[in-house]
Symmetry: C2
Subunit: 193 residues, 2 copies
DNA sequence: GGTAATTGTTAATGTAGATTAAGGGATTTA
DNA sequence: TAAATCCCTTAATCTACATTAACAATTACC
């Protein structure tokens, strides 16, 4: 098993000793999910936090008419979780599935708790990861409050440059909060002269 | 100075020793802000994290037409910050001001950093606070993706029961993402028969 | 205590984006 | 390799909510 990608991710925040690395990786589980296969279904309890090493996951919620609304994409190097479900053992509101065949490493919440109690460095890592996620969600919310659909599309291209090429347009539309029909019109109605 | 409210807030997550309490409170600053007075202006660097002990603060962003959009209210017992500005020393996108005369305690980022390095318990507290905030923002985002204006209003009443009575309706409208005119119409168009 | 500013309401009109529908092209999958 | 599914586009119609405006009722503050 190649743990380099996940260890590199952690190394952005804290420097682990060899002992800590070994202890940490002993808790990791490997999983491969096929296209469209669920990692988490709304209603279930989210018990793990996952790190993508290959492929791409997405989290989304479903409205009362059955429409899908993408909260997040997780390409290689991203973490994904329904945090409220993980923290409070509540049924998840999010579905997580694979956009394409995807490989990931995950750690179970009880193991993560034990890890953080034993090595404060993982408290520190967890804090920084959560702080960054919070900052990202704060500014996503601001974007949604004050930007137009076109500006949100531009932001998307900056945030996920690797995805804009590979992702079906309807997934992008779902993320920025418009219908696929509207996104198509928006992108094809070039402002001429 | 009465540090009981902020220490009780921390005690929800971790149990401090007397030494840790004394060290922590030695970093706290007290501030009183009048109605409409700024604690943070967009464009400035957010250098502190604030805890409200009396009154109520709000954070909001301004769109290109000058319209205000409320991200968060912080009544007694809540924390408030522009996290991206704090973490990356970037200019804040949020304004923070007081809805009414407000008293607060704040800690500067460098002092918090020192505190967390010295006592891992504050890493733990910071992690939990950030995780909870992240979970809240995740689900706020989901709400905005899949709920109607009326449902978002109901959620608001549940989230901020103390505010729904004291807050001007236009502030509520700004938080749930509609105009004051629309909220007024929505609440007064009672479904009869 | 009086004037100014803020707030809530109603109503007419405007608009960004949704919905519905339909056709053709590309990808899956059996 | 064929059938089925998925994807993108265009266009007509529709709707939730914004905008503008005007007035009365509060509330803040000099």
């Amino acid at each position: 098993m190649d743990y380099a990608p996940i260890l590199n991710n952690i190394a952005k925040y804290v420097t682990l000793t060899e002992e800590e690395e070994i202890y940490f990786t002993s808790f990791l589980h490997y999983k491969k999910v096929k296209r469209k296969q669920y990692l988490l279904e709304a209603g279930d309890i989210n018990t793990k936090i996952s790190f993508v090493t290959n492929g791409c996951l997405r989290s989304y919620a479903i409205d009362k008419n059955g429409g899908e609304h993408v909260l997040q994409f997780a390409p290689v190097g991203w973490w994904i979780v329904d945090m409220r479900s993980l923290l409070n053992h509540e049924p998840a509101r999010l579905n997580i599935d694979a956009i394409e065949e995807t490989e990931l490493l995950y750690i179970l919440k009880p193991d993560l708790d034990a890890l953080q109690l034993k090595y404060p460095k993982f408290e520190r890592f967890g804090r920084m990861l959560a702080e960054n996620a919070m900052a990202t969600y704060q500014h996503r919310q601001i974007d949604n409050m004050i930007l137009s659909a076109m500006e949100r599309y531009s932001n998307f291209c900056t945030l996920y440059p690797s995805l804009i090429l590979s992702l079906p347009q309807k997934q992008v539309a779902s993320y920025i909060g418009v219908t696929p029909e509207f996104l198509s019109k928006m992108l094809n109605t070039v402002v001429v002269k």
